[in-house]
C-alpha cells in the first residue's frame, strides 16, 4: 500500500471535519466581530441541534425534520442572545462571557436531563450517510459533500454581507458599535440576525458532523465548539475566509495527527507507534498558541492599535 493510500482517508476526513468546524467558526467569528464576545454557548447550540434532529427524526419524515431542525436551532440561537446577552449589553465584557459560559452549562445540563446522559443514535440520512469509495478509500458520502456544501453556504453568506442592506449594517456594527447606532442602525436587529445566521450554519454543520459519528451526548458540543473558536481566531476573528481556512487547517491537522503513527511506521522513521493520536485535540491549541505568538490577530485579522 502506498503512502498516498494511507494518508488519503485521513485527509478526506480532515477536510470534512474541517468544513464542519468552518461552518461553526463563522458563527463564532461574526458574533465576536460584533459583540467582542466568545459565545461559549455556540458549541452547545450545535449539540442541541443534533439532539433536536434525533427527536425530530423519530416523529417526522426526514424531509420535514431537516427544515424543522434548522428552524428550531435558529430560534434557539435567537433566544439565547435575547435572554442571556441582550440584558448585559452595557455590562463589562467579563460578565457577558460568564453569561455565555452559564448558558453553555445550562444547555448541557438540560440535555443531560432530557437524554438521561445516554448516547442518542443519530438518524441516518439516506444518500448522505451512504458509504462510497473514493480513490480506493471507503468513506461516507457526507465526507465528500461537506466541503462543497460549506463553500456554497459561505459564498451565499459573502454575497449577503456584501450586497444586502442587512449585510452592510452588520459590517458597520462590526467596525464601530457606538457610531453605527448614531447612524440609525437598529442594533438589536443586526445582532439577532447575526445569531440567526450563526445558528443556521451551526445547524447545517451539526447535521454533517453527527452523520459521521455514532451519536449525540450532552458534552458532544464542547470540543468541536472550542476547536471552531480556535479556527476563527486562527484565521483572524471577524474574517469569513479566515474562519474557513482556519477550520480546514485545524480539521486536516487533527486528522493527520490521528494517522501520524501509521504514516511514520510506514516510512520506517519509527518502529513502534508513538501514540500521537492522544494529541489530536491538543494540537489545535498548539496551533492557536503559535499563531497568537507570531501573529496575534490571526491570518487575516486586522491590526488595531490602542490609543493612549
Amino acid at each position: 500500500m502506498g503512502l498516498f493510500q494511507i494518508i488519503l482517508p485521513y485527509l478526506l476526513a480532515g477536510v470534512s471535519v474541517g468544513g464542519q468546524y468552518a461552518l461553526m467558526a463563522i458563527g463564532y467569528s461574526m458574533v465576536y466581530g460584533i459583540l467582542r464576545l466568545i459565545n461559549f454557548a455556540h458549541g452547545d447550540v450545535f449539540m442541541v441541534s443534533g439532539l433536536i434532529m434525533v427527536y425530530m427524526a423519530q416523529a417526522l419524515p426526514l424531509y420535514l425534520s431537516i427544515p424543522a431542525v434548522i428552524l428550531l436551532t435558529v430560534l434557539l440561537g435567537f433566544a439565547v442572545e435575547r435572554a442571556a446577552y441582550k440584558p448585559l449589553r452595557s455590562a463589562p465584557r467579563m460578565s457577558v462571557m460568564v453569561s455565555a459560559i452559564a448558558v453553555s452549562y445550562l444547555l448541557q445540563n438540560l440535555a443531560l436531563y432530557i437524554t438521561g446522559g445516554l448516547n442518542k443514535n443519530y438518524p441516518a440520512i439516506p444518500w448522505v450517510s451512504d458509504s462510497i469509495t473514493v480513490l480506493g478509500a471507503t468513506t461516507k458520502r457526507v465526507t465528500i459533500i461537506t466541503p462543497f456544501l460549506m463553500l456554497a453556504l459561505v459564498a451565499g453568506l459573502v454575497v449577503l454581507i456584501r450586497h444586502t442592506k442587512i449585510g452592510m449594517a452588520m459590517r458597520t456594527v462590526a467596525k464601530d458599535f457606538e457610531t453605527s447606532q448614531l447612524m440609525g442602525i437598529k442594533l438589536d436587529r443586526v445582532i439577532s440576525f447575526t445569531f440567526a445566521i450563526g445558528s443556521f450554519l451551526a445547524a447545517t454543520g451539526s447535521m454533517l458532523y453527527f452523520s459521521n459519528y455514532p451519536g449525540v451526548i450532552p458534552t458532544a458540543g464542547g470540543m468541536p465548539g472550542l476547536k471552531a473558536f480556535v479556527a476563527a481566531v486562527f484565521g483572524g476573528i471577524g474574517s469569513i475566509p479566515g474562519a474557513v481556512l482556519g477550520g480546514l487547517i485545524i480539521g486536516v491537522c487533527e486528522s493527520i495527527i490521528k494517522g501520524m503513527d501509521t504514516v511514520l511506521v510506514h516510512l520506517g522513521l519509527i518502529r513502534s507507534p508513538l501514540e500521537l493520536a492522544t494529541f489530536s485535540d491538543a494540537f489545535t491549541f498548539v496551533l492557536l498558541i503559535i499563531i497568537l505568538v507570531f501573529k496575534p490577530t490571526g491570518l487575516f485579522g486586522e491590526k488595531t492599535t490602542d490609543k493612549v
Binding site: 461559549f40 465584557r93 462571557m97 460568564v98 452549562y105 464542547g222 481566531v233 491549541f285
Partner: protein, 392 residues
C-alpha cells in the same frame, strides 16, 4: 472598631470555626446522614482556595485566564506521584514500569516517624504548587503579552495541552497515562491516635490548608504588590507610567495564582480517591469561574462564601431534585437524574443576569458586616426613638 480588635475578632472566629469542625468530625459517624456535611466541607475548602487563586488573577490583576484546571492537574499529579507508597507502585502502575521511586511521606517517615510523614505530605503539597508555578512561568512567557479574550483562550488551550500530555502513553511510567493514580496519601491520613482513641482530623486538615493559603493571598493582596496588581487591572498604561513593570508583575501574579491552584489540585487529590487527567477538563475551570463571579470579582471573602454555597447546593441541598423528593414534594417523573443540575444552572443564570456584581461585589466581609451592623444600629436607634415618643 480599631484594626487590632478587628484582627482579634477574626482570629477568634477562625479558632471557633476550627474547634467546631474538630468536634463535628468526632461526633458524626460516616454512616450518618450528616456525614455529607463533612464531605461537602472538604470539597468546598478546595474550591474556595482555587476560586480565590483565580480571583487573584481575574479579579485583582485583571488578567482573564482560563487555565486553572491545567494547573490543578499538575498539582494533583505531582502530589499523587510523590506520595504513593513504594510498595503499591507496581499495583497502581499496572501497565507501566513506574520510574519514580520516591515518596516524601515514606522517606521522611522512616527517619522521623509520624511527624516526618506529615512533613513529607506538606513537602509534596508545596512541590505540587511549585511545579504548577514553574509551568505557569513557562506558559506566561508567550501568552502574557496577549490581551483579554486572547489570553483566556490561550490559557485554556495550554490547560488542554497539559491534559493531553499527561494522558500520553509514552509518559505512562511517570503519569500512568490515561489510568488513574490511587493509593496516595489522602485526607484520612490526618488523624491523631492517642491510646485507643483516634481523633479524626481530615476535614480540619483540608479547611486548615485552604485557610493558610487564602490567608497568604489576603496578605499579598493587601501589600504593595497587591496594589500594583490592582493598578494594572485599572489601567495598564498608567501603571506603566508609574514605573510598574507590567510583564514582570503579570508573570508574578500568574505564577502565584498557579502555585495556589497547584496546591488546590493536590488538595482535590487528597479529597478524591483517584487522580485522572480526564477529570481536569475546561468544564472544571468554568465551574471555578462561575464561583468567582457569583462571589464577586475582586472579593476574596465573596469567593469563599460562593464556593461554600456552590458546593453545598450542588452536592447536598439540591440532591433531592435528583432522587424524586424535594422539600417534601414527591414527583419522581420530574425530580429524576439531572434535574438538580438544571435547576442549579438556572439559579446561576439568574444570578449572572440579575445580580451582576455577585454576592459581595468587590467588597470584603468585614466591610459588609460593618455596614450591616451600622444599619442595624440605626434601625434600633430609630425604633428606640419611636418607642420613646409620646403617643408613638
Amino acid at each position: 472598631m480599631t484594626k487590632k480588635t478587628h484582627r482579634l475578632t477574626a482570629a477568634a472566629l477562625l479558632a471557633l470555626m476550627f474547634a467546631m469542625i474538630i468536634v463535628l468530625e468526632q461526633i458524626i459517624k460516616p454512616t450518618d446522614a450528616a456525614a455529607m456535611l463533612l464531605t461537602v466541607l472538604k470539597k468546598s475548602s478546595v474550591y474556595a482556595l482555587v476560586a480565590v487563586s483565580m480571583n487573584l488573577l481575574n479579579g485583582f490583576t485583571g488578567l482573564f485566564s482560563l487555565g486553572q484546571a491545567g494547573f490543578m492537574l499538575l498539582g494533583a499529579y505531582t502530589y499523587a506521584i510523590f506520595t504513593i507508597p513504594l510498595a503499591d507502585r507496581e499495583f497502581v502502575y499496572q501497565y507501566y514500569d513506574c520510574v519514580v521511586h520516591f515518596s516524601f511521606p515514606e522517606a521522611l517517615g522512616s527517619i522521623m516517624g509520624g511527624f516526618g510523614a506529615l512533613l513529607g505530605v506538606a513537602l509534596a503539597v508545596i512541590l505540587a504548587g511549585l511545579v504548577a508555578a514553574a509551568a505557569a512561568w513557562l506558559i506566561g512567557l508567550p501568552v502574557l503579552r496577549l490581551k483579554s479574550d486572547y489570553l483566556a483562550i490561550a490559557t485554556l488551550g495550554f490547560a488542554e495541552i497539559i491534559r493531553a500530555v499527561f494522558q500520553w502513553g509514552k509518559l505512562g511510567p511517570v503519569t500512568n497515562a490515561a489510568n488513574p493514580l490511587k493509593n496516595y496519601v489522602r485526607l484520612n491520613f490526618f488523624r491523631l491516635s492517642i491510646g485507643d482513641t483516634t481523633i479524626n482530623l481530615s476535614a480540619f486538615a483540608s479547611v486548615m490548608m485552604a485557610t493558610l493559603c487564602i490567608g497568604a493571598i489576603v496578605l499579598l493582596v493587601n501589600s504593595s504588590y497587591g496594589r500594583a496588581f490592582k493598578a494594572i487591572r485599572e489601567d495598564e498604561i498608567a501603571a506603566e507610567a508609574m514605573g510598574l513593570n507590567l510583564y514582570r508583575l503579570k508573570q508574578l501574579a500568574f505564577c502565584i495564582s498557579s502555585f495556589f491552584a497547584g496546591i488546590g489540585g493536590a488538595m482535590l487529590a487528597m479529597f478524591a480517591n483517584t487522580v485522572q487527567a480526564n477529570n481536569f477538563k475546561a468544564a472544571m475551570t468554568y465551574e471555578i469561574l462561575l464561583i468567582v463571579v457569583l462571589g464577586g470579582i475582586g472579593s476574596i471573602s465573596g469567593s469563599c462564601i460562593s464556593a461554600l454555597l456552590f458546593i453545598f447546593s450542588s452536592e447536598w441541598w439540591l440532591r433531592g431534585l435528583d432522587s424524586g423528593r424535594f422539600l417534601g414534594i414527591a414527583a419522581p417523573s420530574v425530580f429524576r437524574n439531572g434535574f438538580r443540575l438544571v435547576v442549579f444552572s438556572l439559579i446561576i443564570m439568574a444570578v449572572v443576569l440579575f445580580f451582576r456584581r455577585g454576592i459581595m461585589g468587590d467588597k470584603e466581609l468585614p466591610y459588609a458586616a460593618g455596614r450591616l451592623w451600622g444599619r442595624l444600629r440605626a434601625f434600633l436607634a430609630k425604633a428606640d426613638r419611636k418607642a420613646g415618643e409620646p403617643n408613638g
